[in-house]
Every structure is written in C-alpha cells, then in structure tokens.
Symmetry: C2
Subunit: 239 residues, 2 copies
DNA sequence: CTGCCCGTAACCGTATACAGTTCTCGCAAC
DNA sequence: GTTGCGAGAACTGTATACGGTTACGGGCAG
C-alpha cells in the first residue's frame, strides 16, 4: 500500500486539478485535507501537500477553515487577461503551424460537441468539450513552458465556468468567437489564428466579467448582511 | 518554538529561493531535506514542503538522492526565452510608464553598482546589483501576475549566473544592453523600453547559451566518461 | 589491476501524533 | 428575540517514526 503506482501526492494533485478544471469544485466548497485523505484512503500528508501545491500555484487559498477558491479581484482579472493576450495569440499561431491531423480531428469533434451542448444548454458537456478543445490545440504547441503557463492562467477561470456559461446570450458570443478560432486553426492559418485568438480573449473576458457580476449580485441578495463571512484569506500567490 | 513568527515552510521557501537567486546554490549541490531542517532548527516536514514547492515551480528536480538543479535542455531555453520575449517588453513598457521616483533612484544606484562590479570582475556584486535592478523595475509593474510570471522565468537562469558572467566579453554585451534599457526606463519612454528590452533579451539568451556551452565542455573534460552520472530526474515541471 | 556483486547507509514517501489557533454553536442574560 | 460569552470542535502546522528504494563503496573473483 505504501507505493501503489508512483507517488501518491502526485495523483491526488492531478485529480484535484482535474476537478477544478471540470468546475466540480465551486466557490462554496471547502477542501479539507483530512476529508480528501480519507476519500482516497491515504493519510493527511499527501493530501495536504497536494493542496499546498495548488495554493502555491494560485488555484486555492488557505484559510483557517479549509482551502477555498480564491476570489479574483478586478485587477487580477484584468492582469491575467493582459497576460493571456500576450501569450495565447502567439501560441495559437504556433499551434496552427504545427497542427497534427489527429489534433485537427480532435478539434473538430470538440467543436461539434460544443455546438451541441450550447444548443441544448448542457453546461457540463460544454465545459468538458471546451476543455478538450483547449487541450487539443495546446498539445500542438511545442514550447512546453508556453503551454503550461497558458494552461495555468486559463484554469484560474475554470472554477466559475458554470456561471460563465449560464447566460445563453453571453455564451453565444463566446461560442461564436471560439468557432472563428477553430476555422483559422484547422485552416492552419497562423496569422488568422493569432487575430481570432485575440478577439476570442476579449469575448472571454467580457463573458467572465458578466458572470462574475451575476455571482456577486446573487451573493449579495442571498446573504442579507448577517455574519461577515470574510475568509481570512492569508493566501499568497507565492511565485 | 512551534510558531515563531508565522509559517515556517514559508520562510524556508523564501530563503531557499533567495539562495537560488543569488546563485548560492550551484549545479553540483544536492539539497537534502534533513540537512536543511537541521540548519534551520526545524523538522523534516517544513523543509520538505519548501523543497517540493520549488520542485513544483520548476526550480529544482527531485532525485532519489536529494534535490538538484534541473538541467535545461536547449528546447527549454529557447522556449523560456520565447516566453520572456512575449512578456518582458510589454512589462518594461508598463514600468516605464508607471515608474516612481524611488524606483528610478534605485535603478540608477543598481546600474552604477553593475558598472562598478563589471569593471572589477566582482561577480557576486554583479549578481546582487543585477537582481536589485530587476526588482526595481518589476516593482513598478502593476500587473502582479505579470511580474510574478516574469520573475519566475528569470529565476530559471539565476543558477548558473556565475558562469554567465564569468566571460568578460559576453558580460560586456550584456551590460551594454542593460544600460540601454536603463536609459529608456528612466526617460520613461515606453516604446523605447519595449524595444530595448527585446534587444536585451536576445543578448541575455546569447550570454546564457555561451555560458552553458562552457559549462558542458568543462564537465566533459573533468569527467572522462566513467560512471554515467545521469540524474534519475523524475522531476516534473508540473504546472 | 579491473570488473562485478552485495551489504549498508542515505534519502524519500507516507503515516501517525500532538500542539496551537480559530471558528461555531449553544446557553444564558438582557 | 437578540446579543454576549465560553466550551468544544475543527483544522492547520510541525514533529517524529517507519518502511521501502536506490546509490555507493568495499571486497572478492577473474
């Protein structure tokens, strides 16, 4: 039991990250090391280390009562999207150039699923297909540091994906922009891919800000003041 | 003893990172959690967690015999510099725009120290002044994610700074490029800062590659084949 | 002298234990 | 009904312990 396949903390980390990407962990969830450890049949340490790693990477913040999702400030959001605009157009251009046939097929499949899910309001499927689409083109980016960095900044927004996609009109704009990007990528047109990625990012930022506004408003109405629930977020964002 | 100021692993991490930045930890050093723990009067766990965090961020790789510096492949180097070229010109432009008087003074002091250290071949001082220069302008970058990301990718190259600076001719080119950047920054000229940062990065890449070649050559001559010392690097670069 | 083999020590990964801190909830007073 | 307070639970941070794996080095055979 001591060593199953290889490295317990690694698999715990991977699974937690997957759950974050799939939006399975929401803003109201609290992650506690003992719970996770129990769920995986491990002890506290591996769970704790996996959580701390997620904290170090900015996916979670520690509080005195479990680990929770960070609340991104408007400055954070603007900053992260500024970064993404610096990196992703370039990466998309590279992906268009180095696109493999397999990846092109995967992109097409994912795009198809995105359209379907969008049509029938299936948010879960939409999130999954969106993730598959992302992984497909990022997989063609040769620069692994570039791909990893982009992945990381994308994931900051995965947590409230459900909110992002809940509004059909906003979602429409998002899907259209993605569709245009898809065309450029599969045409293997680097320049067009760059441009459309830029456009897509602006659409994504708008969608995110709208979702965030809805969420804040909802929270304000649900919680009529009583008991300040201010997280003692002493998180760090280290790096 | 249990809680000194706040968070032991945090201070261990910070100190280790500082030592990495100051090139105090070289490619031949092996970091072992028990040693570090003892040196700081703590137990293994905090030391271990600090080390694992450094591994997760790509500063170290774990082996079965302690933690060591990763050996960057040519692809890694090219990739990281590609990233830096995407980010740092933009950041330098922002810094030029938002430069504070304090920061300008600090830049001037650092630049002075860089010239002095360069003149007298004082590599340690050069590294320190170089770091101070970097921190001064990065401190004016409002986008904290941008600044943090840049810092991180810069630090990948700190480990063999001594080698980078050991050759006077190479160093000359490096310092000249930095000097040009300094002029643009203190003139608060965003466009010129962008351009000169781009030029500086090419100079830095050249310097790094030259240093790396020297190091590889030196290693090859010292170690006449015998006993492959291939680190079992199962490190990951997670992110 | 050289190459192989095996014992040993070093080091990692995981588990368990304990102390300190902070939130929560119930209870009592107003 | 509301508010203040205190005991206990919950959770984190750190320490210690143990088993397993792998590199290292000395001894023996060739």
């Amino acid at each position: 039991m001591t060593v199953r396949n290889l490295n317990l903390v690694e698999s715990l980390y991977a699974d937690l990250r997957r759950r974050l990407q799939l939006s399975e962990i929401g803003p109201d969830d609290r992650l506690v090391d003992t719970d996770i450890a129990e769920a995986y049949g491990a002890s506290r340490m591996p769970a704790r280390e996996a959580l701390l790693r997620l904290v170090a990477e900015g996916y979670l913040v520690g509080s005195t009562r479990g680990f929770v999702l960070p609340v991104l400030s408007p400055e954070d959001i603007a900053g992260i999207f500024e970064l993404r605009r610096q990196l992703e157009p370039r990466a998309a251009g590279a992906a268009a150039r180095d696109l493999t046939p397999d990846a092109a097929e995967e992109l097409a499949r994912s795009m198809e699923r995105i359209h379907e899910a969008h049509a029938v309001d299936d948010l879960r499927s939409l999130i999954k297909a969106n993730l598959a689409f992302r992984n497909a083109w990022l997989g063609c980016v040769r620069n692994r540091h570039m791909a990893a960095t982009i992945s990381r900044f994308m994931d900051y927004f995965q947590a409230i994906r459900l909110d992002t996609f809940s509004d059909a009109a906003t979602r429409r704009v998002y899907v259209d922009a993605l569709s245009a990007l898809f065309d450029a990528l599969t045409a293997r047109d680097s320049l067009a891919s760059q441009d459309r990625m830029t456009a897509f990012l602006f659409a994504a930022e708008t969608a995110y800000l709208a979702a965030r506004a809805r969420r804040v408003e909802r929270q304000a109405s649900v919680r009529p003041g009583r008991r300040n629930n201010s997280r003692t977020t002493r998180g760090n964002e280290g790096t």
